[in-house]
């Protein structure tokens, strides 16, 4: 036990460890971690307003709000204010306002006692995700008619590198109750001059908040526009929204801009965490091995396997702490803490940790194959950079799991745990994906296949690399 603690202390205070941690902090600053966190996206996408409202007029106005994060999960504690200036139809009416705070379900109701038939309303939402303000006309309608406002249809989990764009629909019924028979239609329009349109789905809306995973694989390759239409029970349009396939798809690797855009768009932790693993592996094993400072230890009453295992543990323990700290920082500062269960946070930690351990094992293995510790670091860092910048990595596994607010829902939504998915043709799908970037939907593997394959590969490397390194350590100098 004292030997393990001694190795842990040695690795923690090794110059390479300290340099790595400083480098990681600098990189985190360069990446502006949190500006576009890969999990818990703030409200800086045009098609993600962050809140939705509908209203009903019955002599006064009743506004029903739903405030949500980048995954569509509810945000509690958001302050909503509705303001109406003086005047309007009745010039003598003074300015009025009302406000409310969202509960754990992300919902709030604001009542404005004013009977103008039409006037400008200003609505402000202040939440952990940011501040949004909308000003527009709100008119008197027949009692019982619920008018959808901005945000009724909102894309969530979309944008650069997101793999499963989802449409969130907020559609309360009369008096804020259950929806009164509306449905959501998704239509695809072919590129000009092809005039065809095709209905992809028509789904009854039964709950005030519903999410629809967009069936990307079913969309026509040449579709130029996707329409999302909220229809009432008579089939007339209540609200609509259009998107292009490109905006709904993954940004292809070769369409990512270099420089700042690349840094901001990529998965920061997916790169930073492997860097920490590489730094710790370098400090714990690669550097001592290449500089021969491991030799005095091998000459002591210990075995080669014992030395390797202790050094491995001495890197794994701080790695676990660093990954946990990264997740805590990401979520405490930028993420939608209110929308994710602790179990999901644990899964996110586990995904990053698995990735980090795979890189650590890789470094230990390389240390036995390459003489120079510097070369080990360069090769491992190159692989980490390639995976982080050009290939979605395991953090998206947990991002996928983060689509729903409960672990069971996440597991149900993501087919990652199906062994047949894990054994899927990852390489073939991946290259077909690379081979047809940006051409629509067809080249994209399913998120489950991609993530499952990556998970399988990562787990394989995480387990096999240190085992092979151990075998080499016992058989070769």
């Amino acid at each position: 036990m004292s030997a393990i603690l001694a190795d842990l202390r040695r690795t923690l205070f090794a110059p390479a460890t300290i340099v790595t941690l400083i480098l990681v902090l600098l990189l985190a600053g360069l990446f502006d971690v949190g500006s576009t966190p890969s999990l818990g996206r703030p409200f800086d996408y045009g098609y993600n307003s962050g809140y939705a409202f509908s209203y009903e007029y019955n002599g006064g106005f009743v506004f029903w709000f739903y405030v949500f994060n980048g995954h569509g999960a509810p945000i509690a504690g958001a302050n909503l204010t509705v303001s109406v200036p003086a005047g309007g139809n009745s010039s003598s009416v003074p300015a009025v306002s009302g406000s409310a705070t969202t509960g754990p379900d992300g919902r709030a109701t604001v009542t404005i006692a004013r009977n103008d038939s039409t006037t400008e309303f200003t609505i402000e939402s202040v939440s952990s995700g940011g501040t949004d303000e909308w000003t527009g006309p709100v008119g008197a309608t027949p009692p019982g008619d619920v008018v959808p406002g901005p945000g009724t249809l909102s894309l969530v989990d979309s944008g650069p590198y997101d793999l499963t764009p989802t449409m969130l629909l907020f559609c309360p019924g009369p008096s804020g109750g259950a929806p009164d028979g509306p449905s959501l239609e998704i239509r695809a329009n072919y590129s000009a001059p092809d005039p065809r349109e095709v209905q992809l789905s028509l789904t009854p809306v039964t709950s005030d908040v519903t999410t629809y995973v967009i069936p990307r694989g079913e969309l026509p390759l040449s579709s130029s526009r996707i329409d999302f239409l909220l229809l009432n029970r008579n089939g007339s349009e209540l609200a609509g929204m259009s998107e292009t396939p490109r905006e709904l798809s993954v940004v292809p690797y070769n369409q990512t801009f270099w420089g700042q855009d690349l840094l901001e768009d990529t998965n920061q932790w997916g790169f930073v965490v492997p860097l920490v693993a590489i730094g710790l592996g370098y400090a714990a094993y690669a550097r001592p091995r290449s500089s021969r400072s491991l030799e005095p230890v091998l000459g002591l009453p210990t075995t080669r396997a014992g030395v390797l295992i202790r050094r491995y543990v001495s890197a794994v323990v701080p790695l676990a702490v660093v990954v946990a700290a990264a997740v805590v920082i990401e979520f405490a500062i930028y993420g939608p803490v209110s929308g994710l269960a602790p179990a999901l946070l644990a899964m996110i930690w586990a995904g990053l940790f698995l990735e980090a351990v795979a890189f650590l094992g890789f470094v230990f293995l390389l240390a036995h194959l390459l003489r120079s510790a510097g070369l080990v670091a360069v090769v491992a860092g190159g692989v980490a950079g390639f995976l982080a910048f050009f290939v979605s990595d395991t953090i998206y596994l947990v991002a996928e799991l983060g689509h729903t607010s409960t672990p069971s829902g996440a597991l149900g939504a993501a087919p990652l745990w199906n062994p047949t998915q894990l054994a899927g043709a990852a390489i073939g799908e991946y290259f077909s994906w690379l081979g047809s970037p940006g051409e629509g939907w067809s080249g994209l593997p399913s998120a489950g296949t991609l993530f499952g394959s990556l998970l399988a590969v990562t787990a394989f490397v995480a387990i096999s690399a240190p085992v092979v390194a151990l075998m080499l350590a016992r058989r070769r100098d």
């Binding site: 202390r9 005095p296 091998l298 002591l300 009453p301 210990t302």
Partner: protein, 300 residues
């Protein structure tokens, strides 16, 4: 009970150069066994394999019956290794590094490190980083590390290289003290004369092969090849007296007599008989180098 090399062979990648070929050797407790050979003869490889730092290609090393390949921990508890080069972690500080080694060893009394630092004169350098130490101080650090296990066998690789004269004297005294305490020492050097001062036996290695193990008699009782005679006012007449013992040569303060098995006792008697005052008679050459060269020439 001994430190035994059992048919140990080793080749190095990538050109598969044989570094050791079927080495069989035994170091008894209380014995100093020298390992001599030119650069690349396999001395360091043999010591590194015995220390468990390098793996043999075939064969094994046993330490008091503990095979190094299967009972490494038990075997290494009986061993202490002093490498030729300092391979300690350069960024580490002296005392913390020794405490780290002690933690790996496992049963080192906390006060022992302080005692060893004091013994080897490193107390005032205990907070210094290894990279700031001189070669001699690094060697002392290695010596301290080798003593953490209180070893029964010591593996000393070119331990006198690069040391100042004072340190050489200190290490020599330590080697003698360890031998007197019953410790078996395997001591490598390319200097046979230096080894002969300590060693009970010397193993001659050449291109990885053990040529011969020289015993005490061969090391210390070889006939003289050169005898220096110190006689004030020595002259040509004196040289003629010495001619029957070898080939004499007049030098300041006396003469040198060269030849196979020069009879020093006979020289002294003859000179006294001839009326010379003999102040000194020393063997200039013990024949070790010539013996070594003969062995190597025979092998090649």
């Amino acid at each position: 009970m001994a430190l035994e090399f059992q048919n140990v062979s080793k080749r190095f990648w990538p050109n598969r150069t044989p570094a050791l070929r079927d080495l069989t050797l035994k170091v008894e407790p209380g014995e100093v066994l020298g390992l001599v050979g030119r650069n690349g003869a396999g001395k360091t490889t043999a010591i590194r394999i015995a220390a468990g730092v390098s793996l043999p290609g075939s064969g094994n090393v046993q330490v008091d019956g503990h095979p190094l390949d299967r009972e490494k921990v038990a075997a290494s508890r009986l061993l202490g290794w002093v490498p030729e080069e300092s391979v300690h972690e350069e960024s580490a500080k002296v005392e913390p590094l020794l405490r780290y080694y002690a933690a790996i060893v496992g049963d080192v009394e906390p006060a022992r490190i302080g005692e060893l630092l004091e013994t080897w004169g490193l107390t005032q350098f205990r907070r210094r980083r290894v990279r700031t130490l001189s070669l001699g101080m690094r060697r002392r650090l290695s010596l301290i590390a080798s003593e953490l296990t209180q070893p029964k066998y010591l593996l000393l690789d070119e331990v006198f290289n690069g040391l100042d004269p004072e340190a050489v004297v200190t290490v020599r005294a330590w080697v003698r003290e360890r031998r007197a305490a019953g410790c078996g020492l395997l001591l490598s050097s390319h200097n046979l004369r230096e080894l002969a001062k300590f060693a009970d036996r010397v193993a001659v290695l050449h291109e990885g092969r053990l040529l011969k193990v020289l015993d005490r008699a061969e090391l210390h009782e070889r006939p003289s090849r050169v005898v220096r005679v110190q006689v004030p006012g020595f002259d040509e007449a004196g040289l003629r007296v010495l001619e029957r013992f070898g080939t004499p040569e007049l030098v300041p303060g006396g003469a040198l007599v060269r030849g196979e098995g020069v009879d020093a006792g006979g020289i002294a008697a003859a000179l006294v008989h001839a009326g010379y005052v003999v102040q000194g008679l020393t063997r200039e050459d013990d024949g070790l180098e010539e013996l070594y060269l003969e062995l190597v020439r025979g092998a090649t």
